[in-house]
């Protein structure tokens, strides 16, 4: 760290932008300036350098204290970033960097958990309502130019099951609770949550699947959750229930899901995530009955995503300056 004129340390922050992610996710000087204005106490103590698609990465990482980014040559960090103390990842599901054996000694890794929550809450309500109202089936009928009334129950009479009650799952739980639904949940350690009527640990998956009318997948992708929902789990679900995946595509066995949607075991599904992404043009999922596809855009607010990301980053910079523990720390062993 360099000594500033006032004798207090200046933290060098390197922002690494990936142009493939598009403008919604760009952390540009304008958005940094706006964040500095919101956090003027921190602004005086940082200097910010920018790299795009790694064009300046090798030069700027050499004396950076903090790295903010999503895709970068992470394996090179121990060698190239001697001053690095903290890496902030600008998304929530960070499995693309697993295993985390590349993290240099003494470096803390944080992610964007919580940043999606307000938008996820809205999408959670929307998805619950679409499943309850049989919207996937109605959209499929329209494709076939069929007009058939589809009567359905009232959402407040239904039960939501949230697999993975973290920040996103908690936001979905809160949305479902506000709609008057009964809410079941699963999370590691089965710690209670204000919006969840009954919480289990991972051993409660079968019970949750058997009682839920709408199942939301909100887990991180880890070796334990890869393929978590296969033919057996789909068969455990209530006949006519619906599935919403805002976790990662690889959490669900796609072929088993297609079979369950085609047979009527599930009344509908809303998928926001796929394996791989983008979903190939020739994927059979596009034409699978009773399925609505949102191309991984459910939870990222077009205007607020980067400002909320930077509010989290600046709060952590404030903590770093004060020598306090950071928020949203990724546990390298768990991978989230």
């Amino acid at each position: 760290m360099a000594d500033a004129a006032n004798g207090r340390p200046t933290i060098k922050v390197l922002v690494e932008n990936d142009s493939n992610l598009g403008p919604v996710f760009a952390i540009d000087p304008e958005r940094i300036a706006a964040a500095k204005a919101r956090h003027s106490d921190v602004a005086a103590h940082i200097s910010v350098a920018y790299s795009k698609d790694c064009d300046r990465f090798a030069d700027e990482i050499a004396d950076a204290d903090v790295l903010i980014g999503w895709v970068f040559p992470h394996a090179e960090l121990p060698r190239r970033a001697p001053r690095l103390r903290w890496v902030h990842l600008t998304g929530a599901g960070v499995e693309h960097l697993a295993p985390f054996d590349w993290v240099p000694q003494g470096v803390v890794v944080t992610n964007n958990r919580g940043v999606h929550a307000p938008k996820t809450r809205e999408f959670g309500a929307l998805a619950a309502l679409m499943i309850a109202n049989r919207m996937p089936q109605i959209a499929h009928q329209q494709r076939n130019q069929e007009w058939v009334p589809v009567y359905s129950g009232t959402v407040e009479d239904l039960t939501a099951g949230i697999v993975g009650v973290g920040q996103m799952g908690g936001a979905v739980a809160s949305a479902c609770k506000d709609l008057g639904m009964r809410v079941l949940g699963i999370r590691r350690g089965a710690a209670p949550h204000d919006s969840v009527d009954r919480m289990w640990g991972m051993d409660g998956l079968d019970a949750l699947l058997g009682e839920s009318d709408v199942v939301f997948l909100c887990t991180p992708l880890t070796p334990q959750t890869r393929g978590l929902i296969g033919a057996r789990q789909l068969a455990r679900m209530k006949r006519g229930a619906g599935l919403v995946n805002i976790a990662r595509g690889a959490v669900v066995d796609t072929e088993a899901l297609r079979a369950a949607l085609t047979s009527g075991q599930l009344s509908g599904a809303v998928l926001d995530v796929f394996d791989p992404e983008p979903l190939p043009e020739d994927s059979p999922l596009w034409d699978t009955p009773n399925l609505i596809i949102t191309p991984h855009c459910s939870s990222d607010d077009a205007e607020a995503y980067v400002p909320r990301t930077l509010d989290l980053v600046f709060e952590n910079l404030r903590r770093l300056l004060a020598g306090k523990d950071l928020l949203a720390v990724v546990d390298p062993r768990l991978g989230y």
Binding site: E122, N133, I138, W147, P149, V155, D282
Partner: protein, 331 residues
């Protein structure tokens, strides 16, 4: 002196489907919630107008949806109350056939809470570009559309009645501003501001989402045409819950194809009853609903029966009926 039993003829219409038929068992179950009428009335049953003339000749009340309205005055000398099993009465308009001594009541309010949920879904679908995403899905196109949160956006309810009010309440819970037009009120707890129908063109440019839920009358036919759509914000969304003839379908399709509007959720009544513009099935960013989302059949019929029994109590006690249709306004 013992009062004679009030005779109610229950007329079912098999075209609406068995979920909406009123049976003796359903009446008996609902009567348990209204014990004061027990032993004071008696029903007869008919369907699809078979034997209607005999049944209605002795009836004091008619409980149903479709019936030979032009003949009512001639064949129903004792009739003084018609209780409808639905809310929209346009199939009975104009009401010139209705003798002045017969009260006509509808089932306004029976769609709650289902209608509020369904309209909240439509509002959130539009805010999250679901009509566009479904259109892209039909074409196998991966095209991310990132939305901003709904809070702070403006909903315009064209025709603030039961359905519009239910939608407005939901929209307020999600932080929206709600403005509305209404014919019979100047303020409402569900809306931030209520204006007379003549102000529609001033209000259309203010809304992110426009919900059309006016009844079909001679005043509302053609209410939303090319001119009105052109006054909406670029990229706004439209929900059409109204009967055919209120929104100009050709103008709507043109606005969607030109991406003047970002999406539309359109409740389509039976295409058997009227021709559908074939372009609507495949129109860009248009989602068609098969006229069923207002109804949770179980709850809907329980609500309809409660309205019937409350009015039966009102009749037996000599009180005014609820849900009376204003024969001048036609709703």
């Amino acid at each position: 002196m013992k009062q004679s039993l009030l005779r109610v003829h229950v007329e079912n219409d098999s075209a609406i489907g068995p979920l909406f038929a009123v049976t003796a068992d359903m009446l008996a179950a609902a009567e348990e919630r209204h014990p004061s009428v027990k032993g004071r009335w008696t029903p007869t049953f008919g369907s699809d107008c078979a034997g209607f003339e005999q049944n209605i000749a002795e009836a004091d009340a008619l409980f149903g949806w479709r019936f030979p309205k032009e003949r009512i005055a001639a064949i129903a000398p004792k009739l003084s109350w018609i209780q409808l099993t639905g809310a929209g009465v346009d199939h009975l308009l104009p009401l010139y056939w209705l003798p002045p001594h017969i009260d006509l009541a509808n089932a306004k309010g029976a769609h709650k809470p289902k209608i509020g949920e369904a309209l909240l879904m439509a509002i959130l679908m539009l805010n999250n570009y679901i009509p566009a995403l479904v259109h892209h899905q039909r074409r196998h196109e991966w095209h991310q559309l990132f939305a901003t949160g709904i809070a702070g956006k403006t909903l315009l309810v064209v025709g603030l009645g039961e359905a519009g009010g239910a939608a407005a309440r939901m929209a307020k819970r999600f932080g929206m501003t709600v403005i509305a037009t209404a014919r019979r009120k100047t303020a409402d707890p569900t809306a931030d501001a209520v204006y007379p129908p003549a102000r529609l063109r001033d209000l259309l440019p203010q809304a992110d989402i426009v919900l059309v839920t006016v009844p079909l009358t001679h005043e509302t036919r053609g209410l939303i045409g090319a001119r009105e759509i052109s006054l909406m914000k670029q990229g706004a969304g439209l929900i059409n819950l109204a009967r055919h003839g209120i929104v100009d379908d050709a103008a709507l399709v043109a606005a969607l194809e030109a991406q003047r509007l970002s999406g539309c959720v359109y409740d389509l009544e039976s295409p058997d009853d009227r021709p559908v513009d074939p372009r609507m099935w495949t129109c860009r960013n248009l989602i068609l609903l098969p006229h069923s989302l207002s109804n949770d059949p179980a709850r809907f019929m329980a609500n309809v029966l409660d309205i019937f029994f409350r009015n039966l109590e009102n009749r037996l006690e000599g009180r005014p009926l609820e849900n009376l249709v204003n024969s001048g306004l036609g709703y």
